[in-house]
Structure formats: C-alpha cells, structure tokens
C-alpha cells in the first residue's frame, strides 16, 4: 500500500511547492523602510529649480511619493491612472523624477498631463538609493507622522487604486 501512497504523497508535495513557486514574485523585494520615517532629502522642484522640497514640509499630510521618469515605459501606462487618482484629491502626490533630463520630464508632463502636486528632481539617483528604489515606477504611501506605510513596486493598476491605495489613504487621513 505504502508503495502506491508514497509516490502520490511526494507528487502532491512537489506540486504544492511548484504551485506556490508559480505565484511568487521574486522581483518584488520587501522594503525594510516600512513603518520607518521617510528618508530626508532636500531636492529642487522640477518646475521651479530654485525652490526646494523636504519631507518635513509635508508633515501632517498624507502623501504619495511616486518615482517616475520620462524614459520609463511602464510609467507611461501608469500615468493615466495617476491622473485619475489626482482628480479625486485623496492625498497629495509628490513625484520623484528619477535620473531624468528636466526638459524631457517637463515635456512629458505637458504631453500626458501632470498628476503631481509637485515633482522633485533626482538626477544622480541618490534620493532613489535612500528610498531603496530599484525599479521605476515605485509608489510609497507616507502618513501624517512622516512614516512610510506602504510601498508598491511597478505600475499602479486601477485595481490597486481601488483595493489598496484609496482604503489605505482613507485610513491614514483618519489618523492623527
């Protein structure tokens, strides 16, 4: 009897492991920054390079920090969704224009619309390193205390907005 059951059991174990493996996303690396203060920066604004923005300026507000670039193809597919999200005015959206040419970036916003309340420039990618950015686009949700509460890697989809971002923003807006 064991002779027949053992191979079957082994097969089931193998099948379970393979099925789990198929549903893993090894490209998504868990961020150690979750529930930690958003790393400090002082960066020039894309539309007004003489002005600087720091995370301290946004204390007391819930904000999204979206990493984007005009050279990034997935950002293009994500862009209309950010535009829609911006219209709902659920939270402030700050753009991190990552390793980009300012002129190309501005042209991109003119052409496709600007969902960002403000975009800051990170031409040499240092702010990106501080935020553990390894792929563009990435989106962080930061609460009123300035803590990173969520990180999304890859383009945000309409489902993500409905199921993750909007409920989380509502929850964070209710916090003090």
């Amino acid at each position: 009897m064991l002779k027949y059951i053992l191979p079957l059991l082994l097969f089931i174990v193998l099948a379970v492991f393979l099925a789990l493996g198929l549903n893993l996303h090894p490209g998504e690396i868990p961020s150690p920054l979750l529930n930690k203060p958003a790393p400090a920066f002082s960066a020039s604004k894309l539309q007004a390079p003489e002005e600087k923005l720091t995370p301290a300026d946004l204390k007391g507000k819930v904000w999204l920090f979206n990493v984007w670039a005009s050279w990034c193809a997935s950002c293009r597919s994500e862009h209309p969704i950010l535009n829609q999200l911006a219209q709902q005015k659920a939270a402030i959206i700050v753009g991190l224009n990552y390793k980009d040419e300012p002129d190309a970036a501005k042209g991109w916003l003119e052409q496709l619309g600007n969902p960002y309340d403000v975009s800051i420039m990170d031409q040499d990618g240092r702010i990106g390193i501080d935020y553990g950015v390894y792929g563009v686009p990435e989106t962080f949700v930061i609460d009123k205390q300035g803590l990173i509460r969520y990180k999304h890697t890859g383009p945000v989809t309409p489902d993500d907005v409905q199921q993750v971002f909007l409920p989380l923003i509502a929850k964070l807006q209710a916090e003090n």
């Binding site: 868990p30 961020s31 150690p32 390793k99």
Partner: protein, 171 residues
C-alpha cells in the same frame, strides 16, 4: 568540373572566414559587456574592500548579478556609493548596514543567519540529512530483504556444482 570545384572551394573559404568573423564579434561583445568603469582607491587595503564589497552586493535590477558584474544603472550608482563611502573612511560594516537599511538582506549575496533567513541556511542541511536517512533506510531494507533468499539459492547451486565437479555429469 575543374571550374565548379574552384567555386566550391571559394565558398568554403568564405564560410570559414564568416565563422572567424562571428567568433571575433562574439569575443568583442564579451569584452563590451564586461566594461565596468575602473575605480582606484589610494589605499590598497580599501581597494580590496571595494572589490570585495561590490562582488558581495546584489544588483537589484538584474538579480542574479553582483553590482560588480552588472551594467545596470542602479549597479553603477551603488558602486559609486560604495566608492564614496570608502573615501569618506567608512568601514565595510558601515556600508553593508547602509545597503541593508535601504534594500534589506536581499542585497547581500552572503546574508546573515537569523530567524528570517533560517530556512535559507538550514534548508540545504535538512535536505541533505533527509537524503542520507532515506538512502540509509533504503539500503538496509534492500539488504535484509534480499540476502536470505539469495544466500539459500546460492547454497543450493554450490551443492550442485560441487556434485558435478566430484561425480561428473551423470544425467
């Protein structure tokens, strides 16, 4: 006929030169891929740490390469980061801490042993043990299952052979 064979020869020569050209291009492309900017630190000790660290940190874009191997822009930025931190006199441990604070243990090709990485470190040992125990049990069972019958059969044969040798074939 003579004419034809010459043409044949020529095309043959062409194909060898084509192959040579392809091989040459392959060699060239190999070196092109490996071109990573050269960075020299004044202190040879630090240079060693730089080389050591860049081949121990994972490039997060192309996850099966170290930042020393990778051409990805992020890898170049991280190499620059390591270089600058060494120049500022930071230790290897400082830099590893800097990287794991931002990217997690995943950035290390040589992750520390802790609860979260326990399966990673102990998994192979556990599998080896399971394998050894299985082989041991399997071999022991085979041995005890086969030997008595086998021995008896052999003993019978031995008697037959001895009889044949002593008395000759009487059938």
């Amino acid at each position: 006929m003579e004419h034809l064979s010459i043409i044949g020869n020529r095309s043959m020569r062409c194909s060898t030169s084509c192959i040579l050209a392809v091989v040459f291009l392959l060699i060239l492309s190999g070196t092109a891929c490996a071109s990573v900017e050269a960075r020299k630190l004044a202190n040879p000790e630090q240079q060693k740490v730089y080389e050591n660290l860049t081949s121990e940190l994972r490039c997060l874009v192309c996850q099966n390469q170290t930042i020393a191997d990778s051409n990805a822009e992020l890898a170049a930025d991280l190499r620059r980061q390591v270089y600058e931190m060494l120049e500022q006199g930071k230790s290897k441990q400082d830099i590893i801490q800097f990287m794991t604070d931002r990217y997690g243990d995943f950035v290390l090709y040589n992750p520390p042993f802790k609860a979260k990485t326990g399966v990673l470190w102990l998994g192979p040992v556990a599998f080896l043990l399971i394998g050894l125990v299985t082989v041991f049990l399997f071999v022991r069972r085979k041995k005890s299952a086969v030997s008595p019958g086998y021995r008896n059969e052999n003993a019978e044969k031995l008697v037959k052979v001895r009889n044949l040798l002593e008395k000759g074939d009487q059938s």
